[in-house]
Structures are given as C-alpha cells and as structure tokens.
Point group: C2
Chain length 457, copies 2
C-alpha cells in the first residue's frame, strides 16, 4: 500500500508542528506558567500550577493555538474561593484581552501572543472517581496518557486531523464527536491510526473498548463505549452521537479503499450563490423556510441542545397539523441562529378531520354533538367512525408559514429559544433565505444541499 503510506506521510508533514512552532509554544507556555506561579505566590495560595492537554502531552496538531493551564486547589477550599481566585489569577495574566467562559464553573480564556490560554481552577482529589467538578479528572487523564502513549504522538495527530477533516472532532454538542483524550485512548488501545481504522470498518453499534483488565459492570447506552481507565464509571465516548459514530466507520472504509489527503484536509465548500440556490430550489420543488434570530447570551453547549429540541418540536407540530417536514438543519454561529425547515407539504385544503370523544363517554359525546351539529361551518358530520365521533371542520391553518408564526408559543420550543424568537425572528422563504448575508451561513446552505458522504472523487 505505497499510496496509503505516502498519503499519511504527506498528512504528517502538515499536522506535526515544526521545531520552531514547538519552541514558540513551549516558550509562551513556560512564560505564562511563570506569571501564574508568581501571581499564586503573591497571594500565598497553596496550589499546583500545571500545563495540561495536548500542549503538555505533545499531541497537538500544527496550527493549534490552545493551551490549558490548570490551577489545583485543595478540596477543603470552598467552591466560591476556588472560582474567585481562578478568575482573579486568569485576569491578571491576561491583561485586557480575555473573556469569561462558562463550563461547570467559570474560568478565564485569555489571548496571549496569538495563543488562547484557558486558565482553569480545579480540585486536587485523590482519585478521578472522587472528582468534585468534571475538570478534576483531567490531570488523571494526563497522567494516564503520558504513562501509556509511548511515543505514538504522531498517530494521535493523524487521528485528530482525520476527525477534523470529516467534521467530527470535538465533544461539544454542536459536533457530538471525538475529544482529544478519546483520540489518545483509541491510539493507546489500537497502537496506530491505521490499526484503529482497520478495526473501525467493522464496528457495530455499542462498540465496547476498555483498557482495563476487568470488565465494568455498568451498562452504557451509547453507540461507542470507551471506558475511562482512570474512572471506569465513565464513558469517554459518551458525547459521540450515532451519526458521528457511523460517519467514522463509513469514512474509515472509504479512506482505506481510496486513501487521499482530502480526507484530512477537505476542499472548502463554496458558499451557495443566488443563482445556484434558485436552480436547486426549482429542482427540489420543496418549500424551505429560514427562521433567523439572535441568541448571543448562552454558552454554545447549553444553547445547541435547546435549538435541536426546538427544531424537533417544530417538525412534530407541523406533522400533527398535516404538513410534511422533509429535512431540517441548524446554523448557529457567534450568536446568530438560522433554523432551516424544508417541507414537501406546506399548503393544505380547508378540510380538517376533527376527532371527537368516544361514543362511550356520554357527556363529552353530547357536548361534541351539540357543538358541531349546530355549527354551519362544519363540512360533514359529526359521524361515528370506529368508536369515536368525527367532525369535518374548517382547518385552522392552511399554510405552514402562518401555522408556525401564530402557534409559536405552542410549539414546545425550549424557553430560551422561544424568548429569542419572540424578540425578533425573521421568517424567510425559498430564494429569500439568502437575505441573510453571511458567508459561513451560505457555506452551511451549500453543505445542506449536497451532504454527500464522499470525500475523494
């Protein structure tokens, strides 16, 4: 397989940081570490300061600019103090250029010399299983990886870039993919990128991987289960969605049968233009709605599931009202949301089959009959079908667009989404969906309309 090894060589040349890049990163990291240590000393705090994550483990991919520094507090320190000092120290080293990020607790993200530093306070617990906050586990992960990776850092880099290329790198809820730590564990388990890929071509749902000798007794209900070696109650792959899981399997098969660099570095999708969109829409013959609104105040990992739930509810409500959703998607970037809803039935005749009470329920039956027997708008009925009364009455909404606009508050949207949509939601339709003038959004549209599971021609 000469071609395969050539491809991997070429990829490795791109993903392995150069000596200069390493030196630069190490120098900046060391300097920031020092500043934090001084800051800690000044405050007379009894804490650890450690470099953590891919920068520390040498598994970062060339071009990555994220560096994590953890500040370890004794578990006896109150949570408020931990948060307070974490942020104070972070701000101090950040100068002006920082933002507060929110995970389980807030921390500082600072921009220093082109690098992004996360300064995260944590509790130094005895064992990962005794973690107070999720980040407390991270130092144990680092110990484990450092002890077991045995020089296979480049394999991790290949894998990370592969996941990036096929769009499933990262455990965040917008991606639902593979985290850096998960990549490292997979390489430790399989020995190499290619051995993992070869095995993955035959994976079945609920694939179970454990680096521990004993099997855990916990049943995980995920497509991929990778037991955390430092905390066997935890599935490191819990974030991996069914789609990401199968996307990986499919991509592994495709790549091995036709190795090419494009898997790792896919060509950029061209944003859709008005002319293309017009042609696409006229071919598809569907009706496509874009609900565009702003939702800047929430953390992505909190907002994204709410957006998903809301789109699902909208589709369900449309179906119940007789319309037929075909596909939907979510654009969410820098606080701008566009919910895309494509329908194959969006307009209905005025006739609606209103299902009444069972005949057995005498009182309800009487009410129903009284109401509809004397209603001149009734088309047919009330009559009995099976065990119930039916009245054919005028349909409330003949158009999906009007239905969504007027029934917004009954669509079971999540609270934040509903409030954001109510504050100001633009509803665009068909060619007008390009009125949202945003390059990334137009790339998202192009992907929506192609979405082919193919990376090499």
């Amino acid at each position: 397989m000469k071609n395969l090894s050539k491809v991997l060589e070429e990829v490795l040349r791109k993903v392995k940081p150069s000596n200069e890049e390493c030196n630069e990163l190490n120098a900046v990291a060391a300097e920031v570490m020092n500043r934090i240590k001084l800051s800690v000393k000044r405050r007379e705090l009894d804490v650890n300061v450690i470099l953590i994550g891919s920068a520390a483990r040498n598994t970062w991919v060339a071009g990555d600019r994220d560096i994590d520094i953890f500040i370890g507090f004794d578990p006896s320190v109150p949570r408020n103090d931990l948060e307070y000092y974490g942020i104070e120290i972070g701000k101090e080293i950040a100068g002006d250029s920082y933002i507060i990020q929110y995970a389980e607790h807030p921390y500082v993200r600072a921009k220093i010399d082109d690098f992004v530093f996360d300064v995260v306070p944590y509790y130094k617990v005895d064992a990962a299983s005794r973690s107070i906050s999720a980040v407390d586990r991270t130092p144990f992960h680092q110990q484990f990886v450092t002890a077991h990776l045995n020089g296979r850092e480049d394999e991790v880099r290949l894998l990370k870039q592969f996941f990036k290329g096929i769009g499933i790198y990262g455990a965040e809820l917008k991606i639902k993919g593979f985290s850096g730590y998960l990549c490292e564990l997979l390489i430790i388990n399989y020995g190499s990128f290619l051995q993992l890929l070869n095995d993955a071509t035959n994976w079945k749902s609920r694939k179970y991987i454990s680096l521990l000798k004993e099997k855990t007794s916990i049943e995980f209900d995920n497509p991929l289960i990778v037991v955390d070696p430092v905390d066997p109650k935890r599935n490191v792959a819990a974030a991996v969605s069914t789609e990401s899981f199968f996307n990986f399997i499919d991509s592994a098969r495709e790549f091995l049968s036709k190795p090419c660099v494009e898997f790792f570095f896919p060509p950029q999708t061209e944003p859709v233009c008005a002319e293309d969109l017009r042609e696409i829409l006229s071919k598809r013959g569907t009706k496509i709605f874009a609900f565009s609104f702003k939702m800047p105040e929430l953390v992505e990992d909190i907002a994204y599931p709410q957006l998903e739930k809301s789109v699902k509810s909208m589709c369900k409500a449309l179906s119940r009202a007789g319309f037929q959703p075909f596909r939907s998607d979510i654009y969410y970037n820098s606080g701008l949301v566009v919910l895309l809803l494509e329908l194959i039935v969006w307009h209905l005749p005025p006739l609606y089959r209103h299902i009444g009470p069972p005949v057995e329920r005498r009182e309800h039956a009487q009410q129903f009959k009284n109401k509809y027997l004397n209603d001149p708008s009734v088309f047919s009925g009330p009559y009995i079908q099976d065990s119930r009364y039916i009245a054919e009455i005028p349909r409330k909404y003949l158009s999906a667009e009007v239905f969504i606009k007027r029934e917004l508050k009954n669509l079971k949207l999540s609270g934040a989404v509903y409030r954001s949509m109510k504050t100001g939601c633009e509803v665009l339709c068909n060619e007008d969906i390009l009125k949202i003038d945003n390059r990334e959004y137009r790339v998202f549209l192009a992907n929506y309309f192609s979405r082919a599971q193919r990376r090499c021609k």
Copy 2:
C-alpha cells in the same frame, strides 16, 4: 312521556302488518308449502318442510316480502344430494322466476305472487351445536324464539324498523348490523323496545348479554356479545361492527331525548346534483377520485370484504407514497362498484427521501453508495442519518392518480377486485365523478358528503 308513546304508536301502525297483509302472506306461504310437500312426496324423500323466519314467528315488518321455507334432510344424506334436491324442488315450485343464491351452499330464491321465497335445504341435527351447515341452527333459533317471545312481536317490529331507519338492520357484510334473530333475542332479554333502548344508552364496548344462566367460558372479541342460547359457543352479534354498535348507542340516546318518527322512517336523501357537487368540492378543496368498475359475478358477502380490504390497501399505499387520504367509501350495488377516495395531499414535489441500508451492513452499504454516488439524478446525499444512509432522489410518482393507475398490481388489492379493475376501470376525478349516471350512486354521494349523526332537526 306522552310524545314518546305517541311516536311509538304511530310507528307501530306502520310496521304492524294489517289483517289483509297477514292473510295474504299466510295464504301464499301455505300454498307454496303445499307445493313443496307434494314435490317432496313425488320424490319419496324423507324430509321435513317448515316455514321459518319472521313470517313464521310473526315478527315481520309490514311491507316485508321475504318468506323462508326450509327442507330438512337426515344428516346421513350426502351434501351433494341435499344440494341437488334442494335446488330441484326450489326450481320446480318457482317456475321461471328464480335465481340461485350462494351462501354456505346454493339455494333457490323464487319470486311468487310478489313474495320472495328462499327454499333452503338443511340437516336435521340433534342440537344446534352439532350443525353441519350454518343454516342447520335456524330451526333451533325458531324454537327458542317461539318459546320465549311471549307476545312481544310488536316490540321486535319496532326494533327492526329502528335499525332499518338508522341503517344497521341486517348481518350482511355491507351493513354489519343487527340480524332479525338478534332483534328477537334482544327483546326477549330486555322485555321491550324502550327498555332495550334505555339500557343501550349506557352500553360500553364488549357489552355482554346472555339469556343462559351459566356464563360461557369463551371470550368473544366483538363490541357486542349476545350468546346464542341454542349454541353458547356462538356470538349472535358477531356481525355487528364497532361502528354499528356505537351508531345504535348514539341513536338510542338521541331518540330518547327527542323521540320522532323520522328515526324509523328517515326522509330520503336527495341525490347530489352537478351544481351542489361543484360547490361542495370547491369548499372542501380536496381531490376526490372515483374508481368505477363492474364486479357482477361475486356474492355480495364475499365481494364486500374484498372491496373494503382493497380500499384500505389503496389508502395505505397512497400514504406510504407520501399522499394523504382523507376519507374513502364504497358504492356497491347490482355489480357496479365505485371506490371513492378523497385526498388532502395528491401532488408532491420531485424530492424523495430514500432510506438506505444501515451503515453496519457493510456490503449493502457499499452497494448503496456505489449506486447513488454516481447517479446524477440524486439531489442530495447519500449521507448518514442516525444509523442509515439516506439518498434524496427523484420521486417516482408526483401525482396520486398516476401512482394508483401505474401501481395497481402492487397495491395488494384482493384478487377479484384487481382482476375486475384491470378488466375495465374508469378513474374519474372531482366534478367528473358525476359522469356515473345512477340515481342511487348520487344518493350515496350525498350521504358521503353529509353523514351527520342527526335524524331529527
């Protein structure tokens, strides 16, 4: 309740045969009985000849012209002989004016002096439970009714006419209603028409009625269960459909709250005219298809379930193809069938979501991808959703009409219906459904479009 008793009196005046009518019927029946007995004697057959049914039990409704004469054979007589003699004797007394009817076995229906005689051969078994053919039970029914009715014939007449008026008299599969024998048992059980109606207002599904002291151990799965007192394994009300059952309950409630003669003698529905139909259709906004064909060769009770099954299959197939049936109905009279299908979605965009194999099934997955990755007609995909591949491909049928015409053989129609439709089926649409020029059919259409569960204004 003066009004109620007045209504019943008026109805009784109409449904109770006059003395002249009784005398006429009895005279004709006696004469035909005699002719049959002579015919039997000439053939030296050892058989019983008995008058049976409502004519014999004096529970017939004025205007009824049906008389049943049964010829009882010893169970040792071979079935072929029984059928042969039954038909020969029937033909002999009928002269020219007869037809052969088919139930479990064939028999002669003869028209004599304005009366319709069914001459039915049966086996004289020891007990109803030992019946060889279904008709063998009938003489036992007659014995039971004669022994228990105790002069409540007029109550039976009221009940029969009530069922006629609300359209559920008769156990045939086109009606799925209450047979004459069932009416008699209900009156024997409840004592009177009004006591039955009062009780029926509170009936619940699986209503159980038995005239026997011991409860039967058999579980019947019908909305109404009336144990046959001469054969407790049998539910006399097995033919009563859920709709007929609830129609009765609903009608009982309505009648008792607003007694009126129209329940028994509803005004005739006016046939729909072109102008009305145009207005109705434009209001409903639906698409209505009439599939019209001839099916003269089958017995109604055999044809009707096949038509029902076929319409159900058509609706299911339409749904699967993305169209939305709203309601359907069957016109079936003298061999002419019209299947009515009303749709709220009958036209779809060219986009079709083709669900492919699970990603896990590697071989199928490969075939699917090979096929659709290189198909220029594909709109989007193949992509992965959940655990499967999806390809958005051109829809085969954009129109429900074309779908049904072209897919006729795949619609899982019953054999006889399929053959009849293939031989010559006219497909009419919207206003053209009135091209079938037939008064009864136009009455059927008028009922289809009104169907209000209300009999008195």
